[in-house]
Amino acid sequence: MADTEELIDELAGLTLFADLSRPELAGVAHTLEEEWYAEGQRILREGLSGTGFYVLLEGEVSVRLGGDELARLHRGAFFGEAAILLGELPGADVVAAGRVRVVNLAGPAMKNFLMRHPNVMYRMLQEQTRRLRSANRWRR
C-alpha cells in the first residue's frame, strides 16, 4: 500500500484534484479507500447495486455493455458517479483490463464529499461536458 504522502502526491497529479491545497488533498486521501483489482475482475456490475465512486490511479478499465466495449479509461479517469447522482443502478460493467489500482468512495458518502470539495465537483462537471460533447458528435 502506498503511504499517505505518496497517495497525496499521486492525487495532486490528477486533473480532478488539481485545484486542491495540500491539506485538502490529505483530507481526500484519508476519505478515499485504496483498492486493487486483477485482470478481468468486475469493479462495477451493470444493474447491480452496491455502487461507489472510483478514481483510477493505475492500469486501465474497460466499460462494457453486453459484451461490447463502450470505452476504455486510463489513469485519472473517474467512474460510478452517474449511478450515484441519479440514484440508479450502474448502466454498464466496468472491468479491470490488467492490474488496476483505484481509490473508492462509497455511494452514500459522495454528495457530502462533493459539497466539501466544490472544486472537484466543478472538475467533474467539466469532464461530464466533454463526455457529452463527444457523445453528441456521433449522434445522428
Partner: protein, 146 residues
C-alpha cells in the same frame, strides 16, 4: 428575438423548477437563478443559438417549441421544460447545433457570466448541473444501445 417583460420572478422560478438540470434545487437557489434569468421571445423560424458560435448563455424553453439542427439533420425537438446551450456555458466551446424556434417561442436566458458567478457561490447548483448532465449522458447511451 425580443426581450419579454411579462413574467414575474416567481413565475420564472416556477419554470426553472421544472427543468431536469435544476431538479432538487432549493427555493433559494431557484429564486437566485430566476433573478438572473431574462425572458426572450422568438418568432417562428428564428435561431435561438447558432452552430459554431461561442455560447453566451443557457436557454430554458417556457412556451412554444424548438428544433435542434446540425446541417440539414434534425437531431431533436424540444418542448417547454427542456433546455439548450448548457455545454457551451461550462466549457465555452462553440455551439454544436443550431436551434430554431417552432412557432412563437418564449425562453428564459441565463447568461454564462451570471451562471458562472452563481456556480461559484452555490454548490448545490453545481451538484444539480452535474446530475442533469449525467442524466443526459445516460439518455444518449441508452439511445445508442436500443
Amino acid at each position: 428575438m425580443v426581450v419579454g417583460m411579462t413574467m414575474t420572478s416567481a413565475q420564472k422560478a416556477q419554470s426553472l423548477a421544472r427543468v431536469s438540470l435544476f431538479a432538487g434545487l432549493t427555493d433559494g437557489s431557484l429564486g437566485a437563478l430566476a433573478e438572473l434569468a431574462g425572458e426572450v421571445e422568438f418568432s417562428d423560424g428564428d435561431s435561438i443559438v447558432i452552430q459554431g458560435q461561442v455560447g453566451t448563455g443557457l436557454f430554458v424553453l417556457v412556451s412554444g417549441a424548438a428544433r435542434v439542427m446540425r446541417g440539414s439533420d434534425e437531431l431533436a425537438r424540444l418542448v417547454p421544460g427542456e433546455f439548450l446551450g448548457e455545454l457551451a456555458v461550462i466549457d465555452r466551446m462553440p455551439r454544436m447545433a443550431t436551434v430554431f424556434a417552432v412557432g412563437p417561442t418564449t425562453c428564459l436566458a441565463l447568461a454564462s457570466w451570471d451562471l458562472f458567478r452563481q456556480v461559484d457561490m452555490d454548490h448545490d447548483l453545481v451538484h444539480s448541473l452535474l446530475r442533469g448532465l449525467a442524466l443526459r449522458v445516460r439518455q444518449l447511451s441508452e439511445q445508442h444501445s436500443h
